[in-house]
Assembly symmetry: C2
Homo-oligomer: 256 residues x 2
């Protein structure tokens, strides 16, 4: 069963891009065919893998807005079955050009129908907002993974995001499931982190991944080398956590 | 000279809200009359001070969209000359309702003309995007303060933000200055942080605040108590840093 996974949370800086890159790479490491789609005009998922299409080159913008003939898919590491559909800053224009099209919410879903066949997993990195780019990802997705920092503001935005997911499921995408809530940048020396983690597990029983992503400085360094964490520093806590997450994610019962 | 300060950066989670709340409170602590405006639909600046207007109550949304008669300004702490114009999730609708108005970019500036007279500083917390809410803040502002984490992705987004500021200055707001780049969540044990900080200082000489905001767990805790840092834990590194920032900010030569 092909899985299209949106990594979304309108709260900024919670680890969406870090999770998109490293979950995608870890799934490729366990021999899954993976396509990572960069749906954020900041294009951090692209640059974090060393891919920076110049402003005039084809990228996610063309695929969304004019269904580019051959989508500009790259394979950054020959030894990994990880493909990337990169973005650049042109994508920022999509937020106000999309409303002028018929079915502006469903454009990505329509484009993915042709692309998805070649992959086991499609992972979509979303911007920190609930605008049309995130809506497109949620309409196209079979599930949404919600990275969340164990900080006070984390809980505030979660109900708004879950409400948006419910509305999208009702109106455009009845298949959309909650893939799981992922606790990121977890610092076990910090009391607040434990309190928030317990709160989240209590509020959303059975929906929080067992794998916790620890705060690990190597995860902040790896994008500056254009490498996913398990190629940058295979033995570090960050690499182990994302490989564990890929295992948990891949072996989850679909009926969950 | 009244100063209207937008705290902006489309990169998520860099400390915009933490800086808005704590710079505003620290300026009030040194007896400046301060109005904090929450322009982010996440409403973290409001909830971080314990203020949560229900969805139906007047808030920033009404002020922007229909110039509410008496703006719903509150003073969360009687002992501090800190006023707050709070937001709630209704503000999310503004991003798509504003384009239908005449001069959608200049609505906040028009509303502030009447409000600003009573204050020395107006501090505007922005969402993690360069959409119409952030544009409104930049059009209304006399200066923009850019919080930036000393991480790899930090530099990527900075040129896009500075380009946006330049365009806004040309088209709508010739008074808009760069108030300064603020290095936040600085962890002096982390090599990458030092590298990025040096890079930023080299690329933007004279525009980076001398005050560095350290990573300090108390800054993550204070919003859960609805208190600015200098009321929550007056002696902690976070409180000292924001008081130092207020001092540097207030005594900066205007001609800088
Ligand atoms: N587990 C971690 N440990 C340490 N640093 C991390 C971790 N996860 C992410 N980071 C760093 O924290 C910052 C924010 O992470 P990231 O950019 O992935 O968040 P995001 O949610 O994608 O942000 P945005 O909302 O801007 O899209 C980045 O600089 C990243 O390198
Ligand atoms: N110096 C600091 N030390 C430790 N934690 C911090 C610091 N500054 C901010 N934080 C915490 O980091 C998280 C992100 O900060 P904050 O919410 O202020 O960023 P933001 O840029 O406003 O995010 P958004 O892009 O979602 O608006 C929050 O949980 C906050 O409490
Ligand atoms: Mg991101
Ligand atoms: Mg904020």
């Amino acid at each position: 069963m092909r899985r299209i996974v949106a990594i979304a949370n309108q709260k900024g800086g919670v680890g969406k891009t870090t999770t998109s890159i490293n979950l995608a790479a870890a799934l490729a490491h366990i021999r899954q065919r993976v396509l990572l789609l960069d749906c954020d005009p900041q294009a951090n998922a692209s640059s974090g893998l060393g891919v920076r299409p110049p402003a005039s080159a084809p990228s996610m913008y063309q695929v969304l807005l004019n269904g580019a003939e051959a989508p500009p898919i790259v394979q950054p590491f020959p030894q990994l079955p990880l493909h990337l559909l990169p973005a650049n800053s042109q994508l920022a224009a999509a937020e106000w050009e999309l409303p002028g099209r018929g079915n502006p919410e469903g454009l990505l879903a329509a484009r993915l129908a042709a692309l998805a066949a070649a992959y086991d997993y499609l992972i979509i990195d979303c911007p920190p907002s609930l605008g049309l780019l995130t809506v497109n990802a949620l309409v196209a997705a079979t599930e949404v993974v919600i990275p969340i920092q164990c900080e006070y503001f984390a809980m505030e935005g979660l109900s708004l995001l879950l409400e948006t997911v419910r509305r999208i499921k009702l109106r455009w995408n009845p298949n959309l499931q909650i893939g799981g809530i992922l606790l990121t940048m977890f610092d076990r020396r910090n009391n607040l982190a434990h309190q928030v983690a317990n709160d989240i597990r209590r509020h959303f029983p059975g929906q929080v991944f067992h794998t916790l992503i620890p705060r690990n400085v190597r995860l902040g360094e790896s994008p500056s080398h254009g490498l996913p964490i398990h190629l940058y520093d295979p033995g570090c806590p960050g690499a182990e956590a994302y490989l564990a997450l890929a295992g948990e994610f891949h072996h989850r019962e679909d009926s969950d």
